[in-house]
Amino acid sequence: MAIDPTDVPRFAHGSRIPGWDESADLEKSPLEVPDPATTHVPDDLRAEIEAHVAKYPPDHSRSATIPALWAIQRRYGWCTPEGIEQAACVLRLTPAELSAVATFYDMLDTSPTERNRVYVCTNISCSLRGADELLETFREHAEGEPDVHVRGFECLGACDIAPMASVNGTYVGPLDADDVPTLLRQLRDGEEPLPEKQLARRPSADPKAREPQS
C-alpha cells in the first residue's frame, strides 16, 4: 500500500507544480471576454453549450460552465486553450474564469491527454484489496499504448467491487492482474470493457434486497 508520488497528477506530492514557475508572456495581449465578432465557435459546439445554458434559470448561464468544459473535453480530447476561449465566448465569461474552474476538478484535463481514460481507484478501500499493485500492473501494460491514459484516482464510489477502475466512465471490478491486458486489448479494438465485470450488471449484496418482495 505504498504511496506513489506520481499517483495523482495533481502534483500534491512534490513541490514542483506546473504553472507555478510560469511567467506571463508579455508579448501577449490581455484576454478579456472573447468577442463573438472575432472568435470562431463551431455551430454545433455553440448549440451544445447553449442547450446546457437553457437548463438553468435565465441570468445564470454561468452554471453551464462545467457542462461546457465537458463539451470542450469531448470535442477536443482535453480542455484546450482554444476550446476554452470558444466556451468563454458563448458563456460571456473570460477564459481565465473557465480555466480556474477546469483546473479545480480532477476529471477535466488542461493539458494534452490520451483519449481513453482509465482511472484506477487507489483510495483506502480499494487499496486494502490490492489497488496499488493493480495500478502498477496497469502502468506496466499501458506503457507504449498510444491512446490510453492510466492514472490513480480518489475513491470512485465503488468500494464493493474493489479493486476497481473506471474505464471511460464504465466501472469494472473486482479486477485482478489478468484483467489488465484483456482490458487494454478491448480498448484497442473498440470493444466494451470487461462486460462480465461491469458494475452496472451487478446485483445487490444485500441478501434481503435480492429476494423480490411483494
Binding site: 513541490s15 507555478w20 514557475d21 511567467s23 506571463a24 468577442d35 465578432a37
Partner: protein
C-alpha cells in the same frame, strides 16, 4: 436607496464594554471602538463582504462552541467576546504557523519588508518558533504577471485579495486561482499578462510581498521613504493619493482612501504615471523659440519675452486652460487676460461654451449628485461617457453599487461601454446625437411627443428608449445621471444641455437627496476652472463678465483669421485636446506668439510655441481643484520642483505684474485666499478646512451665493436628425484612459500607449469586405487617418469609432460626421 442607518450596540470585549454601530464586523468594531487589534489577512471590506478564508481572526464568543472568524461576525448587543484566551492564542499561533510552513521568509530581500502585514502579524501573534522540518516550496521568482506587476508565488499566502479584486471590484475577471488545495496559485489564462485599467491595486492589496510593483522593485526601503498626501490630477476623478518620496523623487503612488472620492482605489495611470515626473523629456526650464528651435533660456529672458509679446499683441490675446490647471492658476490666468491684457477671450472647455444661465443651472446645488450617490442610488444612467476612460475610478463605484446595492444601471452611449454587461438597459444612438436621444427620452418619460420620430432622429431604437424610460421610472426616486461634457460640446451644445435638464426635471431630480446630475468634465479640473471664471462668458463665481469673449472654437477661428496675435496655453495642447485638429493647426500657425506652460513638448507646443514655461507636475503643485461633484480638494507639494521649474502661479502673477496689473500675491495660499474671496460660493473656505478630505461646496451654506438659474423644463425645438450614412459611416471619437502625454512619457506605461484602431460592427465590416486586424484608411473631406480594423460585436451598425487624444492618426484629424472606411 436609503443608506443604512445604524444603531449603536454594546458588547463586551475582553471584559470591557464597547459601543459600536450595529452590524459592524467584530474586527472593525474592536479596532475602532475598542482599541483592540484582531489580526486579519483576507479581510478587506473595500473588496466586498468577508470570505473568512485565512482564519487569522479567530475569536471566542461566549455561547458559541467553535471559535469564530471575527472578520465575518457582526457585533450584536450583549455579545461577549474574548480575543486573548489561551484557546484563541493557540488557534492564532496555529494559523501563523500554517502560513509560514511554505512562506520563504526572505524578508531581507523582499520589497514588502518593513511594511508587511505578514511580518507584523507573525511577530504579534505567532509563537516565534518553527516546528517544521519539511522543505519549503521553491519556485522561480519573481515572475512577470504583467509589465507592471511581478509575482512571487512562494510568498503568496492565498488570502484571495488579488483575485477577489479582479472578480468583484474591477470585474475584469482576468486574475484567477488555478489548481486546488496547497497547489493553488494566482495566475491568468494561458500566459496572458494581467493588464487591466486597475491592475495595480492588487499590489497594495497583497498582504505579503507576493505581488510587487516592477517599477518600484528595489528602489527603496520603508525606512528611507516618506509619504506625502495629495490629489492625482491626471483625470477628473481626482483620486486622493499618497506619494512615496525619497530624495525629492516620487517613487510610488499609493491610494489614500476617501469614501467620497475613490474608495481607496487608483487606476494604473494614476498609480504609475508618476514616472513622467522624472523623465528626461520633461521640460524643466524655460524655453524660447530661436530660429525655429526651442532653446533653454534664463527665467528673466523668458518672462520678459512673454511679457513683451503680450504687450505687443495689444489685447488681441486669447487663453486656453487645460485640465491640470488649478483653481488658483485659472483664476490668475483669467485675471491676466481680462484685467492686464484687456481681452475677454478665455476658455477651458472643449468645443464651445454654453450660455451662462446653463452653466449656472448645471452646477446648481439642488441638482448635484455626489460620488457615493452612484453607489446607493436606485438607478444610475451613464450618458455619453465611458467612465473607465473618462473618469476611471467611478467605473468601480458604479460596479460596486450594482453588485452590492442592487443599483439598476442604464447605459446610453454611442460607443459600446465596458459597463454594458452590468446594465439593465442599453440605448445606442448615433455619435453626436445625444440631444435627439434626450428629447426622445423626455418624450417617453412624459408621454408627450413622438418617441419614434425623435429616436429615429437620434439613430436609436425607439423601444429601447421606452424601456429605458420605464426602467428609470420604475427603479425608484433616486436617479443619478452621470453624463459626459462632450454631450454639450459643439454648436448645439446648449440645446443638448437643456434637453438634459428637461430629463432631470421629468425625473424630479432637483432637490432630492441621493439623486442628481454628475458631470464628467473632459479635463481634470474642468469644473473648477469654470467656477473660477475660465469661461468666455463667465467670471469668477460664474458672475457675468464685463465683456463676453470667444470660446475655444471661436478663438481658433479668430486666430486662423489673423484676429488674434497671441495665444496663451496653460497646460493644454489644442492639437491633442480640442476636437478639431485642423482648425487649431491653422490657428497656431497663424498666431505670432504662442505662450505655453507645458511639461512635455507635444506636437502643438513643439512646433508652435514661442515661449514655453516649464509646468509643475501634480506632485510639485500647491493649490485647490474642484472634483466633478463639487468637492474642493487641496493639492500639496510632495517634492521640490524639478530642475528650474517655478510655481506657475508665480509665473502668472509675475507676468501680470509686468503687464501692469500686479495681483499682489506673495504666497500660494494668498492666491487661494483671493480666490475664495472672489467666488461667492467659496466664501469663507480655508485651506485648513479643505485639508486632506476636501469640502463639497454645494453642501455649504454659501452655496446659495451661486446666481440662480432656471432648471427647466424648457420648450425645445425639434433636434436635427443624425446624419444618415448611405454607404459611409458615422464617426464617433473617444479618448482612452491611456491617451495622455504622461502615459507616453512613463517608461513603465508606454506599452499601453494607444494605437489607432477603427472599431466596427461585423455587419459593416462584411459589407465593406474588411477583416479584423486589417489596415484601413478612414477618410472624410480629403483628410484621412490610418487604423487597424477592430471588430466588436456590440458596435452599432453604421458607425465607426476612432481614438482621439493621440499624437498620430487621431480622430481629431477628421471632420465627420460621415467618413469612408476602405482597405489601405
Amino acid at each position: 436607496m436609503p443608506r443604512p442607518i445604524r444603531e449603536m450596540v454594546t458588547f463586551t470585549l475582553d471584559g470591557r464594554e464597547v459601543t459600536a454601530p450595529e452590524s459592524t464586523m467584530l474586527v472593525d468594531a474592536a479596532l475602532e471602538y475598542g482599541d483592540v487589534e484582531i489580526p486579519v489577512f483576507c479581510y478587506e471590506p473595500k473588496i466586498g463582504p468577508p470570505v473568512g478564508a485565512c482564519r487569522m481572526c479567530l475569536v471566542e464568543i461566549e455561547g458559541v462552541p467553535k471559535l469564530q472568524a471575527g472578520c465575518s461576525v457582526p457585533v450584536k448587543d450583549g455579545m461577549i467576546v474574548h480575543t486573548n484566551t489561551p484557546r484563541v492564542k493557540e488557534a492564532q499561533e496555529g494559523v501563523v504557523e500554517f502560513l509560514l510552513i511554505n512562506h520563504p521568509l526572505d524578508c531581507p530581500v523582499c520589497d514588502k519588508g518593513g511594511e508587511c502585514p505578514l511580518q507584523d502579524k507573525s511577530f504579534g501573534w505567532g509563537s516565534g518558533i518553527s516546528r517544521t522540518v519539511e522543505p519549503k516550496r521553491h519556485f522561480e521568482k519573481p515572475l512577470a504577471l504583467s509589465p507592471l506587476i511581478a509575482i512571487d508565488r512562494e510568498r503568496c499566502i492565498m488570502c484571495y485579495r488579488c483575485v477577489r479584486f479582479s472578480q468583484e471590484v474591477s470585474e475584469d475577471h482576468q486574475l484567477v486561482l488555478q489548481e486546488r488545495g496547497a497547489d493553488t496559485f494566482v495566475t491568468t489564462f494561458d500566459g496572458h499578462p494581467y493588464v487591466a485599467p486597475f491592475s495595480g491595486n492588487i499590489i497594495e492589496l497583497c498582504p505579503v510581498g507576493a505581488l510587487t510593483s516592477r517599477p518600484y522593485r528595489f528602489r527603496a526601503r520603508p525606512w528611507d521613504i516618506e509619504q506625502a498626501g495629495s490629489i492625482c490630477m491626471l483625470c477628473p476623478a481626482q483620486c486622493n493619493v499618497s506619494f512615496t518620496v525619497r530624495d525629492e523623487r516620487v517613487l510610488r503612488v499609493l491610494q489614500r482612501d476617501h469614501e467620497g472620492v475613490d474608495n481607496g482605489w487608483l487606476c494604473d495611470k494614476g498609480r504609475f504615471a508618476y514616472q513622467a515626473i522624472h523623465v528626461d523629456e520633461r521640460v524643466t526650464e524655460p524655453l524660447i523659440r530661436d530660429g525655429g528651435t526651442l532653446r533653454a533660456v534664463p527665467w528673466e529672458l523668458a518672462l520678459e519675452t512673454a511679457a513683451a509679446a503680450l504687450r505687443r499683441a495689444g489685447g488681441r490675446v486669447a487663453a486656453l486652460a487645460g485640465g491640470e490647471t488649478t483653481n488658483e492658476e485659472g483664476f490668475l490666468l483669467q485675471s491676466l487676460v481680462r484685467d492686464a491684457l484687456g481681452s475677454p477671450d478665455v476658455d477651458s472647455r472643449r468645443g464651445g461654451t454654453l450660455p451662462l444661465e446653463l452653466h449656472r443651472a448645471l452646477v446648481a446645488p439642488a441638482l448635484q449628485a455626489s460620488v457615493p450617490d452612484l453607489q446607493y442610488a436606485h438607478a444610475v444612467l451613464v450618458l455619453d461617457t465611458e467612465p473607465v476612460d473618462d473618469i476611471p475610478i467611478l467605473d468601480l463605484r458604479i460596479r460596486r453599487g450594482v453588485r452590492h446595492q442592487g443599483v439598476r444601471l442604464f447605459v446610453a452611449t454611442s460607443r459600446p461601454s465596458s459597463l454594458d454587461d452590468r446594465a439593465r438597459g442599453i440605448v445606442r444612438y448615433a455619435p453626436g446625437a445625444g440631444e435627439a436621444f434626450l428629447a426622445a427620452l423626455d418624450a417617453a418619460l412624459t408621454g408627450e411627443g413622438d418617441v419614434d420620430a425623435l429616436a429615429g432622429a437620434a439613430g436609436a431604437d425607439a423601444d429601447a428608449v421606452r424601456r429605458l424610460a420605464d426602467g428609470l421610472r420604475d427603479a425608484g426616486e433616486e436617479v443619478v445621471v452621470l453624463w459626459g461634457e462632450r454631450l454639450t460640446a459643439g454648436p448645439r451644445g446648449a440645446d443638448a444641455a437643456r434637453a438634459l435638464l428637461n430629463v432631470a426635471a421629468r425625473l424630479g431630480l432637483a432637490g432630492r437627496d441621493g439623486a442628481g446630475l454628475l458631470e464628467v468634465p473632459s479635463a481634470a479640473n474642468g469644473r473648477g476652472l469654470r467656477e473660477v471664471g475660465v469661461l468666455p462668458n463667465a467670471g469668477p463665481g460664474l458672475c457675468e463678465p464685463s465683456a463676453e469673449g470667444r470660446d475655444a472654437d471661436g478663438i481658433a477661428a479668430a486666430a486662423a483669421a489673423g484676429e488674434i496675435a497671441a495665444l496663451y496655453l496653460l497646460h493644454t495642447d489644442p492639437l491633442l485636446d480640442q476636437p478639431s485638429r485642423r482648425a487649431w493647426g491653422a490657428a497656431l500657425e497663424k498666431a505670432s506668439t504662442v505662450i505655453a506652460h507645458a511639461a512635455f513638448l507635444t506636437e502643438g507646443i513643439a512646433e508652435h510655441a514661442t515661449v514655453v514655461f516649464p509646468a509643475e507636475s501634480h506632485a510639485e503643485k500647491e493649490g485647490t481643484v474642484v472634483h466633478p461633484d463639487g468637492r474642493v480638494q487641496r493639492l500639496r507639494r510632495a517634492i521640490g520642483r524639478q530642475g528650474d521649474v517655478r510655481g506657475e502661479w508665480q509665473v502668472l502673477a509675475e507676468l501680470a505684474a509686468r503687464l501692469g496689473a500686479d495681483p499682489r500675491v506673495l504666497t500660494a495660499s494668498m492666491v487661494s485666499q483671493r480666490l475664495f474671496d472672489a467666488v461667492p460660493f467659496y466664501a469663507g473656505l480655508t485651506l485648513d478646512e479643505i485639508g486632506g478630505r476636501g469640502v463639497r461646496w454645494p453642501e455649504r451654506e454659501q452655496a446659495g451665493a451661486l446666481p440662480t438659474a432656471a432648471l427647466g423644463p424648457f420648450a425645445l425645438e425639434a433636434p436635427p436628425a443624425a446624419a444618415t450614412a448611405n454607404g459611409r459611416l458615422r464617426l464617433g471619437a473617444f479618448r482612452s484612459i491611456w491617451a495622455a502625454p504622461e502615459v507616453a512619457a512613463s517608461p513603465a506605461l508606454s506599452f499601453l500607449r494607444p494605437l489607432q484602431r477603427a472599431e466596427l460592427s461585423p455587419a459593416d465590416a462584411e459589407r465593406l469586405g474588411l477583416r479584423h486586424g486589417e489596415r484601413v484608411v478612414v477618410a472624410s473631406n480629403g483628410h484621412s487617418v490610418s487604423a487597424l480594423v477592430h471588430l466588436r460585436q456590440a458596435a452599432p451598425e453604421g458607425s465607426v469609432f476612432l481614438e482621439s487624444g493621440i499624437a498620430e492618426h487621431s480622430a481629431a484629424n477628421l471632420d465627420g460626421p460621415l467618413v469612408e472606411v476602405r482597405r489601405a
